[in-house]
């Protein structure tokens, strides 16, 4: 699990690594690579299990998605019809506030009665009235923090490149497992691969050596054609 310190750590200057010095475990490995656009599916396990992003917290869900992440408002309204904040279905994204450390899960419209029940502001919202996200009565401080984002179903392909291009923080072991299981076709399609700003290659990553002494990885994936969102400037 990544905490706020990890996120802060991700923004520190990366120390020089030598063969005699082990890196600070709490400082995420900075991994960047470039892949063809269709390779986004490889990252699905990370996207649905959840990743951490740095954000200005204390704002509404809608502000976070539209103003900070740059997702089109029309898309958010029409496409992201199901969302959960800390496991609670969100009905009013304009007034529901996101606190530091929150988990925000995003999904398209779901099938089934329960899919309809969980839909944002849906006709069957009463069915889950007891777990619905309430507007916060206490004060939520504005500031820089971390938010865990989960992307489900069609949103993985549609929003995944945007977040991956912006940079996400994930557990080192999860990423190592993903790369270990990846096939040759994917690995050979990766290029411009760097770890902590030094060139590396997929064979080394697959073996897992760069992840050995790190808890987290700050992963940035650039796609061809390019991602639409700029890299995280926070």
């Amino acid at each position: 699990m990544v905490n706020d310190e990890d996120i802060v750590g991700a923004r520190r200057a990366v120390p020089l690594m030598t063969s005699t010095t082990e890196p600070d475990k709490s400082i995420p490995l900075r991994l960047r690579l470039r892949v063809p656009a269709e390779a986004v599916v490889i990252f699905s396990p990370l996207l649905q299990a959840g990743f951490f992003v740095t954000a200005r917290t204390g704002c509404s869900v809608k502000t976070l998605l539209c103003s900070q992440f740059g997702i089109d408002e029309e898309y958010v309204t029409r496409r992201i019809t199901t969302m959960f904040l800390d496991s609670r279905p969100v009905d009013k994204m304009e007034s529901t506030l996101v606190r530091d450390g929150a988990t925000l899960a995003l999904s398209c419209a779901m099938p089934g009665l329960v899919g309809a029940t969980l839909r944002r502001g849906g006709f069957y919202a009463a069915f889950r009235e007891g777990i619905s996200c309430r507007e916060e009565s206490g004060e939520i401080r504005a500031g820089i923090g971390s938010v865990r984002i989960k992307l489900f179903n069609l949103l993985m392909g549609e929003l995944g490149p945007l977040f991956l291009g912006r940079g996400i923080t994930v557990g080192a072991s999860a990423l190592a497992e993903l790369l270990q299981k990846s096939d040759e076709k994917f690995r050979s399609s990766c290029y411009d691969v760097t770890a902590d700003a030094a060139p590396t290659n997929m064979a080394l990553l697959q073996e897992g050596a760069p992840f050995l002494h790190r808890e987290n990885v700050r992963l940035t994936v650039l796609f061809d054609p390019p991602n639409e969102l700029p890299e995280d400037d926070l």
Binding site: P111, G115, A125, F127, G130, I131
Partner: protein
């Protein structure tokens, strides 16, 4: 569909076949047909496996036409699992073929006087009943393979596996899909045991020489069907989500909501959920040369099913549904899709309901028969069912009996039928349906999310708690009606959001029968069906006390929301007030 065939297995001198005009049951189809025949003709106190019970098989009102999504087949009887009236429906090819042959219903009745096993062959020339003891104890896949050698590939098959022959209470009836795999099951309520009790192993339907059922107003029907298909294709659920990921798209969502019953309803979040998700499943299916998009019958435009292959690219089973992935997966603490797929195949082959079987294994795990998460153990237990061992017969008789035999307190059943994959504590409204439906715990009994369009019972404020009972009532009414049309319930998503698609459905029904159909007519049909079912259950001895969830749902808060079921008994008792 102007005739009814009655197969009396207890006829003097052997089974007899009688074909009559549809008569008093004219205009009915699907669940309306099965439930009204059972309610009218079956003694409510009949033993479900005895001579007095009847197994009614009926295509939907629009089955056998050129209309999209019209391939659901209803099977009804008094359930040996629940003791209530039962309607269980499935996709596959059977409904379309039976409807084109002109049968509004085929009714199996009486009790055979010998232990011979029969197969029923239906074609344009009539019905032939033949003894075939070579099929004895063959499971569904080998049984269909053997029958294909005799009847070929241009027919539809309905079969029971060894579970049906052994009259196990979770036994299903398999219907073949377009590739003639026995993958689509009338699963719930033990209908396969009733077919087994009638001594019928297989029904072969051959519509060679028959044409699609013609509508009374062909042009209007064609136009309505076109608009209906357009509506399904443009809707994000029926046009994108279901075709891409199937029903298992729900795993991540239910898990995120804390409504994913885990390890026999002990908690609402499963740590291994993402490994079981529809997203992971679809990726694996495509990677292995299977498919994440496949229709269970011809004429399906949603294509929510798929083909699941093993690591070598060999067929294992059809794409397991969300409820199956849950029952054999998270409910049992198993986070491995290959294990779930193997169990899905075994269920289909032996011929048992995947929900009932998975929930039962979880109850057995709770009893300590095997540990939660024991993949090999779960396969071994289902194999016992297929072998018909004493343990297998207990497990094959469902969660309620297994819980009693092993002394388990936490047994998730209503009217002895296992709860599906949605915890009623965080999502209380579905608990209302589980508790009160005429069928025993069944999510599909209140599934037709079109009540806003239908205006069943007037407008309900969905954001008020007290709306839950009204919403459940209205859902059950709408579902009973759609179950009668032969339409797949998944059409409801497009109907809910797109009034023009609902109008297209009404126009399909109206133009086919040459009438004007309104939303009120749909509501009246749903109420008629539910009233008949409730009346049957009342005469069978069911009271308000049976319309309750198990006590642990009221006493054990479930994480992460730590809620218990809070709908009062008094509120539950008002569900059928109309």
């Amino acid at each position: 569909m102007d005739k009814i065939a009655r197969i009396d297995m207890g006829g003097v001198g052997g089974p007899t076949v009688t074909v009559t005009e549809v008569g008093e049951y004219a205009g009915l189809g699907g669940r309306a047909m099965t439930s009204i025949i059972v309610a009218t003709e079956v003694h409510p106190l009949a033993h479900p496996l005895g001579a007095e019970n009847k197994l009614v098989i009926s295509p939907g009102m629009l089955s056998g036409t050129a209309g999209a999504m019209t391939g659901r087949l209803s099977v009804g009887c008094k359930s040996p699992l629940t003791g209530t009236i039962k309607e269980s429906n499935a996709g596959g090819q059977a409904a379309q073929v039976l409807a084109r042959l002109g049968y509004a219903a085929v009714i199996l009745e009486g009790k055979p006087t010998t232990d011979d096993l029969y197969k029923l062959y239906i074609n344009k020339d009539g019905i032939k009943l033949t003894v075939d003891n070579s099929l004895r104890l063959l499971d569904n896949y080998p049984a269909v393979a053997k029958l294909r050698g005799e009847y070929g590939d241009k027919v539809a098959y309905m079969t029971i596996g060894s579970a049906g022959e052994r009259k196990l209470l979770s036994a299903s009836i398999a219907c073949t899909d377009p590739e003639l795999r026995p993958t689509r099951h009338c699963g719930r309520g033990g209908v396969g045991a009733v077919m087994g009790a009638k001594g019928i192993k297989a029904i072969i339907m051959d519509d060679a020489g028959m044409k699609m059922r013609p509508p009374k107003e062909p042009e209007r029907y064609r136009d309505a069907n076109r608009k209906f298909v357009e509506g399904l294709r443009k809707h994000p659920v029926t046009g994108e989500g279901l075709p891409a990921y199937g029903t298992n798209i729900l795993t991540n969502i239910l898990n995120e909501a804390g409504g994913y019953p885990t390890k026999n309803f002990r908690t609402g979040v499963y740590a291994g959920g993402s490994k079981l998700s529809g997203e992971a499943q679809a990726e694996l299916e495509i990677k292995r040369g299977g498919s994440a998009t496949h229709g269970c019958h011809r004429g399906c435009v949603i294509q929510c099913s798929g083909i699941y292959n093993d690591a070598n690219g060999n067929y294992v089973t059809k794409q397991p549904e969300y409820e199956t992935v849950w029952s054999h997966g998270g409910h049992c603490g198993i986070d491995d899709l290959d294990t779930v797929a193997t169990l899905d195949y075994m269920d289909d082959n032996i011929g048992v309901d995947t929900i009932e079987m998975g929930v039962t294994i979880g109850v057995a795990m709770d009893a300590g028969v095997i540990e939660f998460g024991d993949k090999e153990g779960a396969i071994r237990l289902v194999n016992e069912v297929g072998l018909g061992t004493p343990l297998g017969r207990i497990l094959g008789s469902g969660a309620a009996i297994t819980g009693k035999v092993f002394g388990v307190e936490r047994v998730p059943v209503v009217k002895d039928q296992a709860l599906p994959a949605y915890d009623p504590r965080p999502i209380q409204g579905i608990g209302v349906t589980y508790a009160t439906t005429t069928q025993g715990a069944d999510h599909t009994a209140g599934y037709a999310i079109a009540t806003n369009i239908l205006k069943v019972g007037g407008d309900v404020d969905p954001l008020k708690t007290e709306g839950q009972v009204e919403l459940s009532r209205n859902l059950q009414i709408a579902t009973a009606a759609i179950d009668s049309t032969g339409m797949c319930l998944f059409i409801a998503f497009a109907i809910m959001d797109q009034p023009e698609t609902f109008q297209a459905l009404l126009d399909m029904l109206g133009s086919f029968y040459g009438i004007t159909m309104t939303g009120d007519d749909v509501v009246a049909l749903g109420k008629k069906v539910l009233s008949a079912e409730r009346d049957f259950n009342k005469r069978a001895g069911f009271t308000a006390a049976h319309d309750r969830l198990p006590r642990f749902f009221y006493n054990e808060p479930v994480a992460p929301h730590n809620q218990v079921f809070q709908i009062t008994d008094e509120e539950l008792d008002t569900v059928f007030n109309w």
